[in-house]
């Protein structure tokens, strides 16, 4: 474990320098313990693969006091009660314009891509970059595909894509360079709800293939007249 100051109001706790579930478990255990104690100097905690950032109020505690506090918090390696979230996805067609490219690039059929992509139980390592954007672990390398050379200016919310060995979905409409293979009708990020995101760090995600009709049925329920 390494500890680093980030300016005067944040401490980085570095639990490792690789992407693996064990290290990420420790990051979440530390985050959960801190949030449960909720000391008055704590502003927020932000997890990632192997590093936890602790934002604190330097007028309420020194960094030494923050570290001293951590010494006295028992951080147990509890099985985080990550929930299993099913994300229905309509693959291909208008929802997944790049699926044939992903198939051709990897010498597979479109059905193979759907099968391979929807089989694993993906772990949510953390959320970052853009609201609701989940960093998932566990994609099969047989469908790994490089990013678009020229990113699209607009990728619709819910689009599921592949970038290199990563997969995930765009929770809000944004520009993006991932290969889009499908789209979920779920509103995966809703700022009027707390928590705003359908998944939290530590959860597990299963992509479930659906038809176009099912897509629109769920879409209407989720988005209403939006």
């Amino acid at each position: 474990m390494k500890v680093r100051l980030v300016g005067e109001s944040c401490i980085a706790i570095i639990l490792g320098e690789e992407i693996n579930e064990h290290i990420n478990d420790m990051v979440h255990a530390l985050m959960d313990s801190l949030m449960a104690k909720n000391p008055e100097w704590l502003l927020e905690v932000v997890p990632s693969y192997s590093t936890l950032y602790i934002y604190f109020d330097p007028l309420k505690a020194t960094y030494k006091e923050v570290l001293k506090f951590l010494e006295n918090v028992e951080i147990r390696k509890v099985e985080r009660k990550g929930k299993r979230v099913e994300i229905p996805v309509a693959y291909g067609g208008e929802f997944g314009p790049d699926i044939s490219f992903v198939a051709e690039y990897n010498g597979l059929t479109v059905d193979d891509v759907i099968e391979i992509h929807s089989r694993p139980l993906y772990r949510v390592y953390f959320l970052g970059f853009l609201p609701g954007f989940a960093y998932l672990g566990g994609m099969d390398e047989r469908i790994a595909t490089p990013r678009l050379e020229k990113p699209r200016l607009k990728v619709p919310a819910g689009s599921v894509g592949i970038a290199g060995k990563q997969t995930g979905w765009y929770a809000i409409e944004s520009p993006g360079g991932w290969r889009i293979i499908g789209r979920t009708p779920l509103k995966t990020f809703n700022p009027t709800k707390v928590p705003p995101s359908i998944v939290e760090p530590g959860d597990y995600v299963k992509f479930v293939p659906i038809t176009e009709e099912e897509f629109w049925e769920i879409y209407k329920e989720e988005w209403g007249d939006d």
Partner: protein
């Protein structure tokens, strides 16, 4: 009500920020220059973190459809019905008055109204975050509802000349090295702390991209396993050109960070225009906290002074002028 008559360069509504949602990928946002923004609020009798209009260089024009107390901060030109007013001072506006503001120097100015601006909060904050469509980018014809001036606002309050922040132009900014110093060569760090870096036009509320001598990475390279990233941190991608993370910064990132700007100097970065230069000088954690305490003490005294709870005296000691704040209980 206040009508936005014309927006010359982008303006948004901002408050102190959106805290507690970075773990869902939601940036904090909020004031780019919290010192000027808080003072604008204090001038009209609001708590420091209330929503205000944050405008940029070209400014905007607005029309009052009811009377209220307002104040403009920043190095701003302020005109009410074509009469020139001072920034850092609160005024009374009545129905039909037209306010025009723009900046002489710096990048951001603030307009506060007594009682604040009503907004529908997204995740506990009024702050505009354009990429996710949170909040409001102001456009012509928008109507803003303000609070009741009669409850809190008083015209004719002004910031003492000596306490007007000087955040404009070229400057030196203090940083705490890290958190990813091992990704930089000793030469790279030397280059960073001894050179000048120019703010490029490619800068916005998310980050300020700088141009200057290339910062050399160590054999570890520019890329790290994606980790959180804090406001004020300076990331250096493989091209060796630094980017300072600002209010709308992404919550995580994969480039190594050479240093982090201390909190009290971040408004100086925010107020630097493209073409102007920054120098980065390392400081210690201890010094950064001392400076923060100093600024907070001054801001608290200023708030009380502007609300009539403290008096201000100028005292000369051996030729040097000092400011002294005193409340009734102190005398």
């Amino acid at each position: 009500m206040i009508e936005i008559v014309s927006v010359i360069t982008p303006a948004t509504i901002q408050d102190s920020g959106r805290f507690g949602y970075q773990r869902f990928g939601v940036p904090v946002s909020g004031f780019m220059d919290y010192i000027s923004a808080r003072i604008a609020n204090y001038l009209v009798g609001n708590p420091g973190g209330f929503p205000v209009i944050e405008f940029t260089v070209g400014g905007l024009i607005l029309k009052f459809h009811g009377s209220t107390v307002f104040a403009v901060t920043g190095e701003a030109e302020v005109n009410l019905n074509d009469i020139s007013l001072s920034p850092w001072e609160s005024y009374w506006a009545k129905r039909g008055d037209v306010l025009r503001v723009r900046l002489r120097e710096g990048m951001y100015g603030y307009i506060a109204f007594a009682g604040g601006i009503e907004c529908s909060k997204v995740l506990d904050s009024c702050s505009t975050y354009v990429r996710a469509n949170f909040g409001k980018t102001l456009k012509q014809g928008d109507m803003l509802k303000t609070g009741y001036a009669i409850l809190s606002g008083k015209a004719g309050r002004s910031v003492p000349e000596e306490l007007v922040p000087r955040l404009w132009g070229n400057k030196t900014v203090r940083v705490i090295l890290g958190p990813n110093v091992e990704n930089f060569s000793p030469d790279g760090i030397r280059t960073f702390v001894s050179s000048e870096y120019e703010v490029t036009p490619n800068s916005d509320r998310m980050g300020y991209r700088l141009e200057g001598p290339v910062i050399e990475h160590s054999e570890r390279g520019a890329d790290i396993i994606t980790e959180p990233i804090a406001r004020g941190s300076i990331q250096v991608p493989a091209n060796g050109k630094p980017i300072v993370m600002m209010a709308d910064a992404q919550t995580t990132g994969g480039y190594a960070k050479i240093a982090t700007v201390i909190k009290v100097d971040l408004p100086k970065v925010a107020q630097t225009r493209p073409g102007e230069k920054l120098k980065f000088r390392p400081t210690s954690y201890k010094k950064a906290v001392e400076e923060l305490k100093k600024v907070e003490t001054m801001m608290n005294a200023l708030e009380k002074f502007l609300n009539g709870k403290l008096n201000l005296f100028r005292i000369k000691v051996m030729g040097e002028k000092y400011l002294a704040f005193a409340g009734r209980e102190d005398l």
